[in-house]
């Protein structure tokens, strides 16, 4: 009896040994001794299988990091870091598939479609920790921009994923550095910075201080 997991692993095995996706669902099902119907009970297409594999890794990551003892003590910044480190640690065991799946798609402006379901999970997670950060005051609540923070998080994710695909340092140490640096920079931007103060000051001067009269305007 086929299950989600058995179809996933049969699919991974197929694409990695043959280097391409099966010609048809019929063929794939026959080779793995199931009916086409069984396949369609779980997935609508091969693309859906890939989407599901990616989403699984993200979901596992989120579940796993939340069980860590230190989790509640982490700031939003640290939660983000923890997510990235754990995600790539988990992904390491299916690196060949990850490389196959991403390289198959030509780099486009937006993300490849196989990452569609993963994106939802990552964005939900980002939303969560960003809202926590906004509530605790760790992150700056800026009009308009605060709503875009999660987009920045997603862009960061895409960048590091691409970095990791091309990383050939031992133990992917360079990816660790990319995460530590990149996430910290992003969160620095989310935090209250001197620019916010400067902006506030400008607003204050514009309203008060008879700025205009003094300048002779």
């Amino acid at each position: 009896m086929a299950t989600i997991e058995s179809i996933q692993s049969a699919y991974i095995d197929y694409v990695l040994t043959k280097g391409e996706e099966p010609k048809s669902v019929y063929l794939f099902a026959k080779e793995n001794e199931m009916t086409e119907e069984e396949f369609y009970r779980f997935f609508g297409s091969f693309e859906a299988v890939e989407q599901n594999i990616w989403a699984d890794v993200a979901q596992k990551t989120v579940t796993e990091i939340k069980t860590q003892e230190v989790w509640p003590q982490y700031s939003s910044r640290e939660k983000a870091l923890s997510f990235f480190y754990s995600f790539f640690e988990l992904l390491k065991s299916s690196r060949s598939f990850a490389v196959y799946s991403l390289r198959k798609h030509h780099r486009m402006l937006s993300h490849p479609r196989v990452l569609d379901s993963l994106k939802v999970i990552v964005e939900n997670f980002a939303d969560d920790i960003i809202n926590q950060g906004l509530e605790s005051g760790e992150l700056a609540d800026r009009k308009f921009f605060a709503k875009r923070y999660k987009d920045a998080f997603w862009a960061q994710f895409g960048f590091i994923l691409n970095f990791w695909i091309d990383d050939n340092s031992t133990g992917f140490e360079k990816t660790d550095e990319a995460i530590e640096k990149g996430v910290n920079v992003t969160f620095d931007l989310f935090e209250r910075s001197p620019l916010d103060n400067l902006f506030e000051y400008g607003k204050f001067l514009a309203k008060n201080g008879n700025f205009k009269q003094k300048m002779g305007v």
Partner: protein, 441 residues
């Protein structure tokens, strides 16, 4: 170390970024000079202290942000008090204690990579906030089976960046030390070798065990216990030593007796290694020592070991501990072996360097001449620094002289002298004496 420091948010690691950091420093120093000279226009009496202080702050700021090997260089420069103006050394001395820590998740990640487990699964307790920085790593407190542990974790990518870092530091070292390029190259290569060794934590654990066993005959010295099974390429686990750093210790106004005891332990530790083991813990900066409540000296870092080959040891210590110095011909022979006098030197140069090095070694060997020596006396150190300053201004000394082994051996011995001076300790200097293969000289 209870105060919570702001964790550093960005560690520039690519060469471009690091260069940018140094360029920025360069601009700032340029600015400091402009500030200095424009002030001097109006006040001709102004001395360079303020300028040096401004420069030191800027250099320190950029070095501490760079971490890793650059910080190491800052520590090294701060050791050579005789080579640097006071303002630089005070500021650099800070780097011996404080550098901003790395994020908690990265620490967890490092453990999972090397042990497949998180620190909480390995230890009973593990403090994610680091206690202090160890220049290429940071130290955390942990507990296992009721024992307190110190866990040292190395920053990722340190080994990779050492070579490129040293190249970047070079122009600053030119300026600060006023050395010629050739001299600096010898220095840099030796430093690079030692620094790369320091990034190998597996080697460090092996050596630490070896050295602490070999030195166990010494009095008033304690070593941490090492746990090789809980150590890896980038992690070292050792037992925690309770104690104060030198500066904190001195703030408690310890008695002369206690200061002598610590000083003696330090002296014995170094001379035992030099003369019995012929290899020495070559990183005597105060951050590597702790003074325990029982008045013992704790030694916590064996990252940097300098081995002394026969062809260096024999001529060098022959000079300091026998009466060769009274014999001009024999002395010049030893100087030639040590490349302090070079084959191409003419009569005049031979005479000049003979006199200078003779004076230098006589000064250096002074503590060995009597059976006890008071390192508290400032006159000796003034003479020492004065001499260092004088020769650093002599054009003859711009050229590379002396075999490369001098770099670490000098650093070790001057570091030792400096610490003993700060302790104002009086020590018995005849405890471990040099001995030679052919003991008939």
């Amino acid at each position: 170390m209870s105060e919570i420091r702001k964790e550093q948010n960005s560690i520039p690691t690519s060469k471009v970024e690091r260069s940018a950091k140094f360029v920025k420093t360069g601009f700032k120093i340029g600015g400091n000079y402009i500030k200095h000279y424009s002030k001097k226009l109006f006040n001709p009496d102004l001395d360079k202290t303020e300028l040096n202080e401004d420069n030191a702050t800027d250099i320190y700021d950029s070095l501490s942000e760079l971490k890793g090997s650059a910080l190491k260089v800052a520590q090294m420069l701060s050791m050579d008090k005789n080579l640097l103006p006071k303002a630089y050394t005070d500021k650099f001395a800070q780097s011996q204690y404080n550098a901003p820590p790395l994020s908690g998740p990265l620490i967890v990640q490092t453990f999972r990579k090397y042990f497949g487990k998180s620190p909480e699964q390995i230890y009973d307790k593990f403090n994610l906030k680091s206690n202090n920085a160890a220049s290429i790593g940071q130290v955390h407190q942990a507990e296992l089976n009721g024992k307190r542990l110190a866990v040292k974790i190395q920053y990722p990518g340190v080994g990779d960046s050492i070579s490129s870092d040293l190249k970047l530091v070079k122009p600053f070292a030119f300026r600060l030390l006023g050395m010629s390029e050739k001299e600096l190259d010898v220095y840099m290569k030796e430093v690079e070798e030692r620094l790369l060794e320091e990034t190998d934590y597996e080697l460090e654990v092996r050596r630490s065990v070896e050295f602490s066993n070999a030195c166990s005959v010494l009095n008033n010295i304690v070593f941490p216990e090492y746990y090789p099974e809980l150590s890896s390429k980038r992690i070292i686990t050792m037992s925690w030593i309770e104690g104060k750093h030198l500066r904190e210790f001195l703030e408690t106004n310890p008695s002369q007796e206690l200061r002598n005891q610590i000083g003696q332990a330090l002296w014995d530790f170094y001379n035992f290694q030099q003369h019995e083991l012929r290899a020495v813990h070559a990183d005597p900066h105060p951050g590597n020592f702790l003074i325990t409540p029982e008045g013992k000296l704790g030694i916590i870092d064996f990252g940097c070991i300098k081995e002394m080959p026969e062809d260096f040891y024999e001529p060098f210590f022959g000079l300091t501990s026998t009466d060769i110095l009274n014999d001009r011909e024999e002395t010049i022979k030893a100087f030639r072996e040590l490349e302090m006098i070079l084959p191409g030197d003419n009569e005049q140069q031979i005479d000049f360097f003979y006199r200078m090095y003779h004076q230098m070694i006589t000064l250096f060997a002074k503590p060995y001449l009597s059976s006890t020596f008071d390192f508290g006396q400032t006159s000796y150190f003034e003479e020492l620094y004065g001499f260092g300053e004088r020769i650093s201004k002599m054009p003859e000394f711009k050229q590379a002289r002396g075999v490369k082994h001098f770099i670490y051996v000098n650093r070790t011995n001057f570091g030792l002298y400096n610490i003993l001076h700060e302790l104002k300790a009086e020590v018995k200097t005849d405890t471990y004496k040099p001995h030679f293969a052919a003991d008939v000289i």
